[in-house]
């Protein structure tokens, strides 16, 4: 009952079917017919793998339709804005066994394929009261719509598939803790200096025998340390989720069959937590205000011994501290080395440094600064000075304060206090040696090792000359020579 549309054909029989700019037969709507719901899900999964449904959503409608013979099938309707969009949909539908049609109101003809690059037209229309009349080269069938399928409901009904790799994916984690575990979890996170925010959400009672709502802690952690991932993923009472789109998250260890980021059906103000194992999703219609984890930290009050004690002991008078200065010591330390960014090279090792300069890579030479003093040469490199294996390494324990690597200062004062005690100018760097003697080097004295290394050789200017043009013929210049006293002497005529 259908025929191929020919090139430059202008008249079509199917109502609502027209020709677009490319000459392809196209109605205002497109329709994909699937034999079952799982094919629709496959179609959505395949389509959202590369593209978003955002463009299709305003016009998308999914229905379960029933033929006159009672067979149930599934349709997906979209606005056929252009043949390009329809081509993409048709390709994906063909992949999952769907049939693509186009039309405007009730009559839908088969969309173009390899056999008919300009599409199809129905010569004879079905006389039917059905909601849909589909014309295909293999069948012509009318359908009635039985019920609509809501995309959000469909997505919520789909069970996430097992995929353990998601557990190790970096990024934000949403941890849902049962009521009794919430405070402990928060305290653990605060104690471990993990930042995040938390709230408590309520769900209806899970059982008819219970009338109290179920409360759970919802903790959002922007950066969960890797060591905590197994704990939060495997401990009963904790359920860890990974955000899978705006307003939706999927349990860690599972992956939703459809790319949820391509389906803007979830409210950003709420949160849908899709669980694995076939469990019902947890839906929070409106996420309550979340507070920083530190605000939920455990609070402890000290004990008081009577009235007025709560205010604490008040000093009767104040005195200047007694002079308690002790000599500074630099002692070996077992602490790991961090920020080894400077070194001191004695003057007697200067020739060795010069020889070493030939072996240094460019990145090291470019990133190193050097200051030459009477006490030796000081090298600094923000990326680490270990690339120059010479001299004594120094660790920058505080801005502008350097201690020998592997040593620590005793008494164990903070570096800030030590720097203040040394009382150096703001532009000076202080290197405290292993003998506790401190040297100050002005920051302006440091220059790039790159410029300090190069000893420019003597040079002479080479004047560029034009390449000699050998094929150019020089002009012939007649020069005049003296003719002598008797210019014609000895000249003889020819013999004859």
């Amino acid at each position: 009952m259908i025929e191929r549309v020919a090139l430059h054909q202008t008249r079509l029989h199917t109502p609502g079917l027209g020709l677009d700019a490319k000459g392809v037969a196209l109605g205002t709507r497109g329709l994909v017919l699937f034999p079952s719901l799982d094919r629709l899900v496959m179609m959505l999964a395949a389509y959202t793998h590369e593209q978003s449904l955002e463009g299709l959503m305003p016009s998308m409608a999914m229905n379960v339709v029933r033929s006159k013979l009672g067979a149930r099938e599934v349709t997906l309707e979209i606005a056929a804005e252009s043949s390009d969009r329809m081509d993409r949909v048709a390709e994906t539908a063909r992949l999952v066994g769907g049939l693509t049609f186009t039309g405007t109101s009730r009559h839908f003809v088969q969309y173009r394929d390899g056999a008919a690059p300009f599409g199809y037209d129905a010569r004879e229309l079905l006389s039917t009261d059905g909601a849909l009349a589909l014309y295909h080269d293999r069948f012509t069938q009318s359908y009635d719509i039985e019920r609509r399928i809501d995309l959000r409901a469909l997505l919520l009904r789909l069970c996430p598939r097992l995929d353990r790799t998601t557990t190790l994916e970096p990024g934000v984690r949403i941890v849902v803790a049962e009521q009794g575990l919430g405070p402990s979890l928060v305290h653990y996170l605060v104690r471990s200096r993990v930042e995040g925010e938390a709230c408590v959400a309520e769900w209806p009672p899970e059982s008819a025998l219970s009338d109290a709502p179920v409360e759970r802690w919802v903790v959002r952690i922007p950066e969960l340390p890797a060591r905590m991932v197994p704990l939060l993923s495997s401990t009963p009472g904790f359920t860890c989720f990974l955000p899978a789109g705006q307003g939706v998250a999927v349990e860690a260890g599972y992956r939703h069959p459809i790319e949820l980021r391509a389906c803007p059906v979830f409210d950003a103000a709420g949160l849908v937590l899709l669980r694995g194992r076939g469990d019902d999703p947890w839906i929070i219609e409106r996420l309550p205000r979340m507070g920083p984890l530190t605000t939920f930290a455990r609070v402890e009050l000290r004990t008081t011994h009577g009235d007025g004690d709560a205010d604490g002991a008040v000093a009767v008078r104040t005195l200047l501290p007694e002079a308690l200065r002790v000599p500074l010591r630099i002692d070996p330390s077992s602490a790991p080395w961090r920020k080894v960014t400077a070194s001191w090279v004695p003057l007697d090792q200067f020739p060795l440094l010069r020889r070493l300069a030939y072996a240094l890579p460019h990145a090291t030479v470019a990133g190193t600064r050097v200051a030459t003093t009477a006490r030796g040469i000081f090298l600094r490199a923000e990326m680490g000075i270990e690339a120059i294996p010479l001299g004594t390494f120094f660790v920058e324990v505080y801005p502008r304060l350097f201690l020998p690597a592997g040593y620590d200062v005793t008494p164990a004062v903070s570096p800030e206090v030590l720097l203040r005690a040394l009382d150096v100018t703001a532009s000076s760097l202080v290197f405290v040696g292993s003998d506790a003697r401190a040297w100050s080097v002005d920051e302006q004295a440091f220059t790039g090792l790159e410029t300090a290394l190069v000893e420019a050789p003597a040079w002479e200017a080479a004047e560029a000359r034009a390449i000699e043009r050998t094929l150019v013929e020089a002009t012939i210049d007649l020069r005049v020579a003296p003719i002598g006293l008797r210019p014609a002497r000895g000249l003889e005529p020819t013999d004859t």
Partner: protein
């Protein structure tokens, strides 16, 4: 003075610069007997001789694929010696020395006698070899320098001004101007200028390829002579001539050939078949390439109705060029009528259509010429 020393002086001072460029310095005149006695002498400066040979081969290769030309022959030595003496006779020092003026005339006269003893080239190779020596003969020019300063000025003919006159240029307000004078425009001359022109013309007559290659020159004007016509008698010679002429502006060539043809018709009452064959070849080549034969305006042959009228000098140079093209077109039509021409019928018809507009107006003229 030995023959070898004269040959070296001639080769270094004149022959090498004539090919390579640079300072061409004629010195003491050579004379007719010495010039003819140079024979097959070889230059002693082998390195310079090799450079000259390379330059000569390079020039010859613009016309034919040739790898070697060889050392100068006796005729080439003689022609070079004659050119040397002609250039020496134009030495301005003769003008200053009143008692030696007669020597210049004697030198020029002996140079002419030398040239007349040189036979025309016996074959194409010899003609090409002579051309490789003499191709730049008309480029010989003297640089005259005028030095002026705050209190006076002085002219130096063919010599560099002394450094003392150029010293302190700003303080003394020294101004130097240089002017190049071609050989035939040299002044002052002790000899009659026509001797110089005739001498050059005689040399050109002994080197037909050079004669054709410089046919657009102002003087000595190109004329059909026996040596040139002998070169054109064979198809190979005409092919060589066509290549030589193709390197010149077509309009200049047409003008020169038309002027020479006109002079030949006026003198002999007609134009030989050899010259007409060259003109016909040029017309066919132009028509085949879509050239100016059919593109140009028809020549004004109303001014040349008869041979008598042709004897008068043409009023315009364009008419001389048109005469050459008309003669060539008419001769080409006759050539195309021959069954031996290697053109297809279609090509022949196309060429005829291109040639007929130019030739049609020359039919009356050609019919009056005896040799056609």
């Amino acid at each position: 003075v030995t023959v070898e020393s004269v040959a070296d002086r001639l080769f270094t001072g004149v022959m090498a610069p004539l090919v390579l460029g640079g300072a061409l310095t004629p010195s003491r005149a050579i004379g007719a007997r010495a010039a003819l006695a140079l024979g097959a002498t070889l230059p002693t400066d082998a390195e310079l001789a090799a450079r000259v040979e390379h330059a000569r081969v390079r020039r010859a290769r613009t016309l034919v694929p040739i790898d070697r030309l060889g050392p100068p022959t006796a005729a080439e030595w003689a022609l070079a010696a004659a050119l040397h003496d002609l250039a020496q006779s134009a030495n301005p020092a003769f003008d200053a020395a009143t008692l030696r003026r007669g020597a210049a005339a004697r030198i020029a006269m002996l140079a002419g006698a030398t040239i007349r003893r040189v036979a025309p080239p016996a074959n194409l190779h010899e003609a090409l070899s002579r051309h490789a020596w003499l191709a730049r003969m008309l480029e010989i020019a003297r640089t005259d320098t005028t030095v002026s300063w705050w209190s006076g000025s002085r002219v130096f003919l063919g010599v560099e001004p002394p450094a003392r006159l150029l010293a302190w240029p700003e303080l003394r307000r020294v101004s130097v101007s240089r002017a190049r004078r071609p050989l035939l425009d040299l002044a002052p001359l002790v000899i009659d200028r026509s001797w110089l022109v005739d001498g050059i013309a005689e040399i050109l007559a002994r080197s037909p390829i050079t004669d054709l290659a410089t046919c657009a020159r102002r003087e000595p004007a190109f004329a059909w002579n026996e040596t040139t016509l002998a070169l054109l008698q064979r198809p190979a010679g005409r092919a060589l001539a066509m290549r030589v002429l193709a390197r010149l502006p077509p309009s200049d060539v047409d003008r020169a050939l038309g002027r020479a043809s006109r002079a030949a018709i006026a003198e002999h009452g007609g134009l030989g078949p050899t010259a007409l064959a060259l003109l016909a070849d040029r017309a066919i080549a132009d028509a085949h390439a879509g050239g100016h034969v059919q593109a140009s305006a028809p020549p004004s042959f109303a001014a040349f109705p008869t041979a008598t009228a042709l004897a008068t000098p043409p009023a315009k140079a364009e008419d001389e060029a048109a005469l050459a093209r008309a003669l060539g077109a008419a001769a080409a039509l006759r050539t195309l009528a021959s069954p031996n021409v290697a053109f297809s019928d279609a090509e022949r018809a196309g060429l005829r259509a291109a040639l007929e507009p130019a030739a049609g107006q020359a039919v009356a003229l050609l019919a009056s010429l005896r040799n056609l």
